[in-house]
Protein backbone atom coordinates (compact mmCIF):
# COMPACT_ATOMS: atom_id res chain seq x y z
CA UNK A 1 0.00 0.00 0.00
CA UNK A 2 2.85 2.39 0.82
CA UNK A 3 4.17 2.00 -2.71
CA UNK A 4 0.76 2.84 -4.16
CA UNK A 5 0.40 5.97 -2.04
CA UNK A 6 3.87 7.09 -2.98
CA UNK A 7 3.08 6.59 -6.66
CA UNK A 8 -0.07 8.71 -6.29
CA UNK A 9 1.89 11.36 -4.43
CA UNK A 10 4.52 11.53 -7.19
CA UNK A 11 1.79 11.76 -9.79
CA UNK A 12 0.33 14.82 -8.13
CA UNK A 13 3.36 16.59 -6.83
CA UNK A 14 3.89 18.96 -9.75
CA UNK A 15 0.25 19.79 -10.03
CA UNK A 16 0.01 20.46 -6.30
CA UNK A 17 3.00 22.76 -6.42
CA UNK A 18 1.22 24.90 -8.98
CA UNK A 19 -1.89 24.81 -6.87
CA UNK A 20 -0.02 26.04 -3.81
CA UNK A 21 1.16 29.04 -5.84
CA UNK A 22 -2.42 29.89 -6.80
CA UNK A 23 -3.36 29.46 -3.18
CA UNK A 24 -0.68 31.86 -2.03
CA UNK A 25 -1.87 34.39 -4.55
CA UNK A 26 -5.44 34.08 -3.34
CA UNK A 27 -4.35 34.33 0.26
CA UNK A 28 -2.73 37.65 -0.52
CA UNK A 29 -6.02 39.04 -1.77
CA UNK A 30 -7.84 40.15 1.34
CA UNK A 31 -11.53 39.47 1.66
CA UNK A 32 -11.64 36.38 -0.51
CA UNK A 33 -12.77 33.19 1.10
CA UNK A 34 -10.62 30.48 -0.38
CA UNK A 35 -11.91 27.72 1.84
CA UNK A 36 -14.54 26.22 -0.51
CA UNK A 37 -12.15 26.43 -3.41
CA UNK A 38 -9.31 24.72 -1.57
CA UNK A 39 -11.42 21.99 -0.09
CA UNK A 40 -13.24 21.12 -3.28
CA UNK A 41 -9.92 21.07 -5.08
CA UNK A 42 -8.69 18.45 -2.62
CA UNK A 43 -11.67 16.30 -3.52
CA UNK A 44 -10.63 16.37 -7.13
CA UNK A 45 -7.15 15.00 -6.41
CA UNK A 46 -8.11 11.32 -6.67
CA UNK A 47 -9.83 12.10 -9.99
CA UNK A 48 -6.64 13.69 -11.31
CA UNK A 49 -4.65 10.62 -10.33
CA UNK A 50 -7.20 8.34 -11.95
CA UNK A 51 -6.89 10.38 -15.15
CA UNK A 52 -3.12 9.90 -15.26
CA UNK A 53 -3.53 6.21 -14.41
CA UNK A 54 -6.01 5.70 -17.19
CA UNK A 55 -3.75 7.26 -19.81
CA UNK A 56 -0.81 5.06 -18.79
CA UNK A 57 -3.01 1.93 -18.48
CA UNK A 58 -1.63 1.77 -14.98
CA UNK A 59 -4.40 -0.49 -13.69
CA UNK A 60 -3.36 -3.25 -16.08
CA UNK A 61 0.15 -2.99 -14.73
CA UNK A 62 -0.91 -2.66 -11.10
CA UNK A 63 -2.88 -5.90 -11.41
CA UNK A 64 0.46 -7.67 -11.98
CA UNK A 65 2.08 -6.27 -8.83
CA UNK A 66 1.75 -7.86 -5.39
CA UNK A 67 -1.21 -5.70 -4.41
CA UNK A 68 -4.78 -6.70 -3.73
CA UNK A 69 -7.47 -4.88 -5.68
CA UNK A 70 -8.82 -3.76 -2.32
CA UNK A 71 -5.65 -1.86 -1.49
CA UNK A 72 -5.49 -0.31 -4.97
CA UNK A 73 -8.97 1.18 -4.46
CA UNK A 74 -8.40 2.09 -0.85
CA UNK A 75 -5.25 4.05 -1.67
CA UNK A 76 -7.28 6.48 -3.81
CA UNK A 77 -9.66 7.18 -0.93
CA UNK A 78 -6.73 7.69 1.40
CA UNK A 79 -5.23 10.19 -1.03
CA UNK A 80 -8.58 12.02 -1.05
CA UNK A 81 -8.73 12.11 2.74
CA UNK A 82 -5.11 13.19 3.06
CA UNK A 83 -5.71 16.02 0.59
CA UNK A 84 -8.80 17.05 2.50
CA UNK A 85 -7.02 17.13 5.85
CA UNK A 86 -4.16 19.10 4.36
CA UNK A 87 -6.47 21.57 2.63
CA UNK A 88 -8.55 22.22 5.72
CA UNK A 89 -5.48 22.63 7.93
CA UNK A 90 -4.15 25.09 5.39
CA UNK A 91 -7.28 27.23 5.33
CA UNK A 92 -7.67 27.16 9.09
CA UNK A 93 -4.05 28.19 9.55
CA UNK A 94 -4.46 30.97 7.02
CA UNK A 95 -7.52 32.19 8.86
CA UNK A 96 -5.77 32.20 12.24
CA UNK A 97 -2.75 33.99 10.80
CA UNK A 98 -4.98 36.59 9.17
CA UNK A 99 -6.86 37.16 12.38
CA UNK A 100 -3.58 37.62 14.24
CA UNK A 101 -2.33 40.12 11.74
CA UNK A 102 -5.55 42.05 12.00
CA UNK A 103 -5.36 41.75 15.75
CA UNK A 104 -8.78 40.12 16.03
CA UNK A 105 -9.87 36.81 17.53
CA UNK A 106 -10.49 33.94 15.05
CA UNK A 107 -14.20 33.41 14.61
CA UNK A 108 -15.64 30.17 15.88
CA UNK A 109 -18.16 30.28 13.08
CA UNK A 110 -15.40 29.94 10.57
CA UNK A 111 -14.34 26.59 12.00
CA UNK A 112 -17.86 25.29 11.79
CA UNK A 113 -18.05 26.49 8.26
CA UNK A 114 -14.90 24.53 7.46
CA UNK A 115 -16.40 21.50 9.20
CA UNK A 116 -19.51 21.68 7.02
CA UNK A 117 -17.38 22.11 3.92
CA UNK A 118 -15.24 19.08 4.79
CA UNK A 119 -18.37 17.00 5.25
CA UNK A 120 -19.68 18.12 1.88
CA UNK A 121 -16.32 17.27 0.36
CA UNK A 122 -16.43 13.81 1.97
CA UNK A 123 -19.87 13.31 0.56
CA UNK A 124 -18.55 14.33 -2.84
CA UNK A 125 -15.77 11.73 -2.63
CA UNK A 126 -18.21 9.06 -1.55
CA UNK A 127 -20.58 9.67 -4.43
CA UNK A 128 -18.28 10.24 -7.34
CA UNK A 129 -15.46 7.72 -6.83
CA UNK A 130 -17.62 4.62 -7.47
CA UNK A 131 -18.80 6.26 -10.71
CA UNK A 132 -15.20 6.92 -11.70
CA UNK A 133 -14.41 3.26 -11.17
CA UNK A 134 -17.50 2.12 -13.01
CA UNK A 135 -17.44 4.40 -16.05
CA UNK A 136 -13.89 5.72 -16.21
CA UNK A 137 -12.67 9.26 -15.73
CA UNK A 138 -14.19 10.84 -18.86
CA UNK A 139 -17.76 9.81 -18.16
CA UNK A 140 -17.14 10.07 -14.43
CA UNK A 141 -16.50 13.79 -14.85
CA UNK A 142 -20.11 14.28 -15.96
CA UNK A 143 -21.21 12.80 -12.66
CA UNK A 144 -18.87 15.21 -10.96
CA UNK A 145 -20.56 18.14 -12.72
CA UNK A 146 -24.03 16.86 -11.93
CA UNK A 147 -23.02 16.42 -8.33
CA UNK A 148 -21.70 19.96 -8.20
CA UNK A 149 -25.01 21.26 -9.48
CA UNK A 150 -26.87 19.30 -6.80
CA UNK A 151 -24.55 20.52 -4.06
CA UNK A 152 -24.74 24.16 -5.17
CA UNK A 153 -28.53 24.11 -5.31
CA UNK A 154 -28.65 22.19 -2.06
CA UNK A 155 -26.51 24.80 -0.35
CA UNK A 156 -28.58 27.63 -1.76
CA UNK A 157 -31.70 25.97 -0.46
CA UNK A 158 -30.17 25.33 2.93
CA UNK A 159 -28.74 28.79 3.38
CA UNK A 160 -32.11 30.19 2.41
CA UNK A 161 -33.78 28.09 5.09
CA UNK A 162 -31.16 28.94 7.64
CA UNK A 163 -31.41 32.64 6.98
CA UNK A 164 -35.17 32.43 7.41
CA UNK A 165 -34.58 30.63 10.69
CA UNK A 166 -36.83 27.76 9.68
CA UNK A 167 -34.20 25.11 10.04
CA UNK A 168 -31.19 24.23 12.07
CA UNK A 169 -28.27 26.51 12.67
CA UNK A 170 -24.87 25.39 11.29
CA UNK A 171 -23.85 23.96 14.66
CA UNK A 172 -26.67 21.46 14.75
CA UNK A 173 -26.31 20.84 11.07
CA UNK A 174 -22.79 19.57 11.63
CA UNK A 175 -24.02 17.02 14.16
CA UNK A 176 -26.27 15.59 11.46
CA UNK A 177 -23.98 15.60 8.51
CA UNK A 178 -20.83 14.15 10.09
CA UNK A 179 -22.36 10.68 10.60
CA UNK A 180 -23.94 10.87 7.14
CA UNK A 181 -20.59 11.71 5.53
CA UNK A 182 -18.79 8.89 7.33
CA UNK A 183 -21.43 6.29 6.52
CA UNK A 184 -21.52 7.41 2.90
CA UNK A 185 -17.76 6.89 2.67
CA UNK A 186 -17.82 3.44 4.19
CA UNK A 187 -20.54 2.35 1.79
CA UNK A 188 -18.74 4.02 -1.09
CA UNK A 189 -15.47 2.19 -0.37
CA UNK A 190 -17.26 -1.15 -0.34
CA UNK A 191 -19.07 -0.36 -3.59
CA UNK A 192 -15.87 0.80 -5.32
CA UNK A 193 -13.97 -2.31 -4.26
CA UNK A 194 -16.77 -4.49 -5.62
CA UNK A 195 -16.80 -2.62 -8.92
CA UNK A 196 -13.01 -2.77 -9.21
CA UNK A 197 -12.85 -6.46 -8.39
CA UNK A 198 -15.29 -7.22 -11.19
CA UNK A 199 -13.47 -5.05 -13.69
CA UNK A 200 -11.14 -6.58 -16.26
CA UNK A 201 -8.23 -4.71 -17.73
Amino acid sequence: MKGLLLKDFYTLIKQVRFFLLVLLFMALLPGTSMAPFVILYAVMLPVSILGYDERAKWDRYAAMLPYTKKSIVLSKYIMGYAGLILASLLTVTAHVVYANIKGSVPELGYFYEIGVLVCIALFYLAVHLPFMYKFGVEKGRLVFLALTAVVVFGLMYLSDKISKGLMLDPYDLLAYIIPVAITANLVSILVSIRIYEKKEF
Partner: protein, 285 residues
Protein backbone atom coordinates in the same frame (compact mmCIF):
# COMPACT_ATOMS: atom_id res chain seq x y z
CA UNK B 1 8.00 -29.02 -10.87
CA UNK B 2 6.18 -26.79 -13.29
CA UNK B 3 6.54 -23.04 -13.25
CA UNK B 4 3.22 -22.73 -15.05
CA UNK B 5 0.49 -25.27 -15.40
CA UNK B 6 -2.57 -24.45 -17.49
CA UNK B 7 -5.36 -26.97 -17.85
CA UNK B 8 -8.55 -26.66 -19.93
CA UNK B 9 -8.48 -22.91 -19.69
CA UNK B 10 -11.55 -21.16 -21.09
CA UNK B 11 -12.33 -17.46 -21.34
CA UNK B 12 -15.21 -16.10 -23.37
CA UNK B 13 -15.61 -12.59 -24.71
CA UNK B 14 -18.21 -11.41 -27.20
CA UNK B 15 -16.69 -12.48 -30.52
CA UNK B 16 -13.72 -14.32 -29.01
CA UNK B 17 -13.18 -17.45 -27.02
CA UNK B 18 -9.98 -18.81 -25.56
CA UNK B 19 -10.89 -22.41 -26.02
CA UNK B 20 -9.78 -25.20 -23.73
CA UNK B 21 -6.10 -24.30 -23.67
CA UNK B 22 -3.69 -26.61 -21.80
CA UNK B 23 0.08 -26.46 -21.49
CA UNK B 24 2.89 -26.73 -18.98
CA UNK B 25 6.12 -24.87 -18.57
CA UNK B 26 8.68 -26.86 -16.54
CA UNK B 27 10.93 -24.88 -14.20
CA UNK B 28 14.13 -23.62 -15.74
CA UNK B 29 12.78 -23.29 -19.28
CA UNK B 30 11.56 -20.60 -21.64
CA UNK B 31 8.26 -20.88 -23.44
CA UNK B 32 7.38 -18.72 -26.42
CA UNK B 33 3.78 -17.89 -27.25
CA UNK B 34 3.34 -17.29 -30.95
CA UNK B 35 0.14 -16.17 -32.58
CA UNK B 36 -1.38 -13.66 -34.96
CA UNK B 37 -3.15 -10.54 -33.71
CA UNK B 38 -6.18 -11.50 -31.66
CA UNK B 39 -5.04 -15.11 -31.27
CA UNK B 40 -5.32 -14.85 -27.51
CA UNK B 41 -1.72 -14.34 -26.43
CA UNK B 42 -2.34 -11.36 -24.17
CA UNK B 43 -5.52 -12.96 -22.84
CA UNK B 44 -3.50 -16.03 -21.90
CA UNK B 45 -0.88 -13.86 -20.18
CA UNK B 46 -3.55 -12.03 -18.21
CA UNK B 47 -5.18 -15.30 -17.22
CA UNK B 48 -1.81 -16.60 -16.01
CA UNK B 49 -1.59 -13.53 -13.74
CA UNK B 50 -5.32 -13.75 -12.90
CA UNK B 51 -5.79 -10.08 -13.78
CA UNK B 52 -8.89 -11.24 -15.66
CA UNK B 53 -11.20 -13.96 -14.43
CA UNK B 54 -11.25 -17.29 -16.21
CA UNK B 55 -14.55 -18.96 -17.03
CA UNK B 56 -13.23 -22.43 -16.33
CA UNK B 57 -10.07 -24.47 -16.10
CA UNK B 58 -7.07 -24.48 -13.80
CA UNK B 59 -4.03 -22.20 -13.73
CA UNK B 60 -1.19 -22.87 -11.31
CA UNK B 61 1.76 -20.51 -11.19
CA UNK B 62 4.87 -21.49 -9.22
CA UNK B 63 2.76 -24.21 -7.67
CA UNK B 64 -0.03 -21.90 -6.50
CA UNK B 65 -3.58 -21.74 -7.86
CA UNK B 66 -3.70 -18.17 -9.08
CA UNK B 67 -7.24 -17.54 -7.80
CA UNK B 68 -6.21 -18.36 -4.23
CA UNK B 69 -5.53 -15.60 -1.71
CA UNK B 70 -1.88 -16.56 -1.33
CA UNK B 71 -1.24 -15.68 -4.98
CA UNK B 72 -0.54 -12.06 -3.94
CA UNK B 73 2.57 -13.38 -2.17
CA UNK B 74 3.56 -15.45 -5.20
CA UNK B 75 3.44 -12.28 -7.33
CA UNK B 76 6.48 -11.08 -5.39
CA UNK B 77 8.44 -13.61 -7.43
CA UNK B 78 6.93 -12.84 -10.82
CA UNK B 79 8.34 -10.12 -13.03
CA UNK B 80 5.90 -8.82 -15.62
CA UNK B 81 6.38 -6.75 -18.74
CA UNK B 82 3.26 -5.60 -20.53
CA UNK B 83 2.97 -4.08 -23.92
CA UNK B 84 2.05 -0.39 -23.39
CA UNK B 85 1.03 -0.46 -19.74
CA UNK B 86 3.25 1.29 -17.26
CA UNK B 87 3.51 4.10 -14.74
CA UNK B 88 1.82 7.48 -15.25
CA UNK B 89 3.84 9.59 -17.65
CA UNK B 90 4.69 12.31 -15.11
CA UNK B 91 6.88 9.93 -13.11
CA UNK B 92 10.58 9.21 -13.55
CA UNK B 93 12.76 6.17 -12.95
CA UNK B 94 14.13 7.38 -9.62
CA UNK B 95 10.59 7.63 -8.34
CA UNK B 96 9.81 4.18 -9.70
CA UNK B 97 12.73 2.86 -7.68
CA UNK B 98 11.27 4.43 -4.52
CA UNK B 99 7.83 3.03 -5.29
CA UNK B 100 9.08 -0.48 -6.03
CA UNK B 101 11.20 -0.45 -2.88
CA UNK B 102 7.91 -0.25 -1.03
CA UNK B 103 6.14 -2.71 -3.32
CA UNK B 104 8.43 -5.73 -3.58
CA UNK B 105 9.96 -7.18 -0.41
CA UNK B 106 13.02 -8.28 -2.40
CA UNK B 107 13.57 -5.10 -4.38
CA UNK B 108 17.21 -4.75 -5.45
CA UNK B 109 17.98 -1.08 -5.89
CA UNK B 110 21.56 -1.58 -7.11
CA UNK B 111 20.55 -4.09 -9.68
CA UNK B 112 17.78 -1.78 -10.94
CA UNK B 113 20.14 1.16 -11.40
CA UNK B 114 22.64 -1.27 -12.91
CA UNK B 115 20.14 -2.11 -15.65
CA UNK B 116 19.27 1.59 -16.05
CA UNK B 117 22.95 2.17 -16.73
CA UNK B 118 23.30 -0.80 -19.02
CA UNK B 119 20.32 0.37 -21.09
CA UNK B 120 21.48 4.04 -20.91
CA UNK B 121 18.16 5.15 -19.44
CA UNK B 122 18.10 8.63 -17.89
CA UNK B 123 16.83 8.29 -14.29
CA UNK B 124 15.55 11.87 -13.99
CA UNK B 125 13.61 12.12 -17.22
CA UNK B 126 9.81 11.80 -16.99
CA UNK B 127 8.29 8.95 -18.97
CA UNK B 128 6.46 11.40 -21.20
CA UNK B 129 9.85 12.01 -22.81
CA UNK B 130 10.82 8.33 -23.00
CA UNK B 131 10.56 6.57 -26.33
CA UNK B 132 8.59 3.36 -26.63
CA UNK B 133 11.80 1.36 -26.55
CA UNK B 134 12.99 3.16 -23.43
CA UNK B 135 9.74 2.43 -21.64
CA UNK B 136 10.09 -1.21 -22.57
CA UNK B 137 13.63 -1.30 -21.23
CA UNK B 138 12.55 0.33 -18.00
CA UNK B 139 9.78 -2.19 -17.62
CA UNK B 140 12.24 -5.05 -18.18
CA UNK B 141 14.65 -3.53 -15.64
CA UNK B 142 11.86 -3.52 -13.05
CA UNK B 143 10.88 -7.11 -13.82
CA UNK B 144 14.45 -8.27 -13.33
CA UNK B 145 15.15 -6.37 -10.11
CA UNK B 146 13.07 -8.12 -7.48
CA UNK B 147 14.49 -11.63 -7.41
CA UNK B 148 11.85 -12.99 -9.76
CA UNK B 149 11.72 -16.69 -10.39
CA UNK B 150 9.28 -16.33 -13.27
CA UNK B 151 9.07 -13.69 -15.96
CA UNK B 152 5.81 -13.10 -17.78
CA UNK B 153 6.64 -11.02 -20.82
CA UNK B 154 3.98 -9.80 -23.23
CA UNK B 155 5.65 -8.51 -26.39
CA UNK B 156 8.75 -7.26 -24.57
CA UNK B 157 10.84 -6.78 -27.70
CA UNK B 158 8.32 -4.91 -29.82
CA UNK B 159 9.44 -1.41 -30.74
CA UNK B 160 13.09 -2.12 -29.99
CA UNK B 161 15.96 -2.04 -32.43
CA UNK B 162 17.80 -5.31 -33.26
CA UNK B 163 20.82 -4.52 -31.10
CA UNK B 164 18.81 -3.84 -27.97
CA UNK B 165 16.59 -6.83 -28.71
CA UNK B 166 19.64 -9.01 -28.86
CA UNK B 167 20.91 -7.59 -25.58
CA UNK B 168 17.58 -8.32 -23.93
CA UNK B 169 17.57 -11.87 -25.24
CA UNK B 170 21.03 -12.30 -23.72
CA UNK B 171 19.77 -11.05 -20.39
CA UNK B 172 16.84 -13.46 -20.55
CA UNK B 173 19.17 -16.33 -21.32
CA UNK B 174 21.31 -15.32 -18.38
CA UNK B 175 18.21 -15.35 -16.22
CA UNK B 176 17.29 -18.95 -17.00
CA UNK B 177 20.80 -20.20 -16.39
CA UNK B 178 19.54 -20.58 -12.84
CA UNK B 179 17.41 -23.72 -13.01
CA UNK B 180 14.83 -22.25 -10.68
CA UNK B 181 14.02 -19.47 -13.15
CA UNK B 182 11.53 -19.69 -15.99
CA UNK B 183 10.07 -17.38 -18.62
CA UNK B 184 6.91 -17.24 -20.65
CA UNK B 185 7.22 -14.75 -23.48
CA UNK B 186 4.98 -13.72 -26.35
CA UNK B 187 6.20 -12.00 -29.46
CA UNK B 188 5.41 -11.23 -33.06
CA UNK B 189 9.09 -11.44 -33.76
CA UNK B 190 9.37 -15.19 -34.12
CA UNK B 191 13.11 -14.92 -34.77
CA UNK B 192 13.57 -13.67 -31.21
CA UNK B 193 11.64 -16.60 -29.84
CA UNK B 194 13.57 -19.05 -31.95
CA UNK B 195 16.79 -17.76 -30.43
CA UNK B 196 15.85 -18.33 -26.80
CA UNK B 197 12.83 -20.60 -26.38
CA UNK B 198 12.88 -24.19 -25.24
CA UNK B 199 9.18 -24.64 -25.88
CA UNK B 200 6.95 -23.05 -28.48
CA UNK B 201 3.17 -22.75 -28.27
CA UNK B 202 1.09 -21.66 -31.26
CA UNK B 203 -2.19 -19.93 -30.64
CA UNK B 204 -4.70 -19.30 -33.38
CA UNK B 205 -8.22 -17.89 -32.94
CA UNK B 206 -8.19 -18.77 -29.25
CA UNK B 207 -7.10 -22.36 -29.77
CA UNK B 208 -3.75 -23.89 -28.94
CA UNK B 209 -2.69 -25.33 -32.29
CA UNK B 210 0.42 -26.97 -30.89
CA UNK B 211 2.82 -26.81 -28.00
CA UNK B 212 6.12 -28.58 -28.35
CA UNK B 213 9.80 -28.47 -27.62
CA UNK B 214 11.41 -26.16 -30.13
CA UNK B 215 14.03 -28.66 -31.23
CA UNK B 216 11.45 -31.40 -31.76
CA UNK B 217 9.38 -28.96 -33.74
CA UNK B 218 12.25 -27.89 -35.96
CA UNK B 219 13.20 -31.52 -36.52
CA UNK B 220 9.69 -32.80 -37.07
CA UNK B 221 8.86 -30.40 -39.86
CA UNK B 222 10.66 -29.47 -43.04
CA UNK B 223 10.29 -27.05 -45.92
CA UNK B 224 10.21 -28.26 -49.48
CA UNK B 225 10.71 -26.06 -52.53
CA UNK B 226 10.06 -28.17 -55.63
CA UNK B 227 8.61 -28.16 -59.11
CA UNK B 228 5.17 -29.68 -59.55
CA UNK B 229 6.58 -32.90 -60.95
CA UNK B 230 9.20 -33.24 -58.21
CA UNK B 231 6.54 -32.65 -55.63
CA UNK B 232 4.43 -35.47 -57.03
CA UNK B 233 6.29 -38.09 -55.00
CA UNK B 234 5.42 -36.48 -51.68
CA UNK B 235 2.54 -38.47 -50.16
CA UNK B 236 -0.55 -36.53 -49.07
CA UNK B 237 -0.19 -37.44 -45.42
CA UNK B 238 3.29 -35.88 -45.37
CA UNK B 239 2.00 -32.45 -46.37
CA UNK B 240 1.00 -30.06 -43.59
CA UNK B 241 0.19 -27.24 -45.99
CA UNK B 242 1.42 -25.95 -49.30
CA UNK B 243 1.58 -22.87 -51.42
CA UNK B 244 1.56 -22.96 -55.20
CA UNK B 245 3.67 -20.35 -56.98
CA UNK B 246 4.32 -19.82 -60.70
CA UNK B 247 7.67 -21.59 -60.19
CA UNK B 248 6.42 -24.64 -58.35
CA UNK B 249 5.34 -25.57 -54.89
CA UNK B 250 6.50 -24.54 -51.43
CA UNK B 251 5.31 -26.82 -48.67
CA UNK B 252 5.60 -27.55 -45.01
CA UNK B 253 5.99 -31.30 -44.62
CA UNK B 254 6.51 -33.94 -41.97
CA UNK B 255 10.17 -34.85 -42.37
CA UNK B 256 9.68 -38.51 -41.44
CA UNK B 257 6.93 -39.13 -43.96
CA UNK B 258 8.65 -37.42 -46.87
CA UNK B 259 10.71 -39.59 -49.27
CA UNK B 260 14.47 -39.20 -48.89
CA UNK B 261 14.76 -38.25 -52.56
CA UNK B 262 13.03 -34.95 -51.93
CA UNK B 263 15.30 -32.16 -50.74
CA UNK B 264 14.11 -30.90 -47.35
CA UNK B 265 15.26 -27.64 -45.79
CA UNK B 266 15.29 -26.81 -42.11
CA UNK B 267 12.30 -24.62 -41.28
CA UNK B 268 12.25 -21.57 -39.04
CA UNK B 269 9.57 -21.10 -36.41
CA UNK B 270 8.20 -18.41 -38.68
CA UNK B 271 7.92 -20.84 -41.60
CA UNK B 272 6.02 -23.32 -39.49
CA UNK B 273 3.80 -20.62 -38.07
CA UNK B 274 2.95 -19.00 -41.41
CA UNK B 275 2.40 -22.29 -43.21
CA UNK B 276 0.23 -23.64 -40.44
CA UNK B 277 -2.04 -20.63 -40.34
CA UNK B 278 -2.07 -18.88 -43.65
CA UNK B 279 -1.76 -21.57 -46.27
CA UNK B 280 -3.59 -24.19 -44.32
CA UNK B 281 -6.62 -21.92 -44.29
CA UNK B 282 -6.23 -21.23 -48.01
CA UNK B 283 -5.80 -24.93 -48.81
CA UNK B 284 -8.96 -25.86 -47.02
CA UNK B 285 -11.18 -23.09 -48.28
Amino acid sequence: MNAIEVRNLVKKYPGFKLDNVSFQLPKGYIMGLVGDNGAGKSTTMKLIMNSIKRDSGVVKVLGCDNTSKSFVKVKEEIGVVLDEALFPEVLNAKQVNNIMKRTYMNWEEDRFFGYMDRFSLPPDKVFKDYSRGMKMKLSISVALSHKSRLLVLDEPTSGLDPIVRDEILDILNEFTRDEENSIVISSHITGDLEKICDYVAFLHKGKLVLCEEKDTLLYKYGIVHATRSEFGVVPKNAIVSKRETPYGIDALVFREKTPKTVKIEKPTIEDIFVFMHKYREENYK
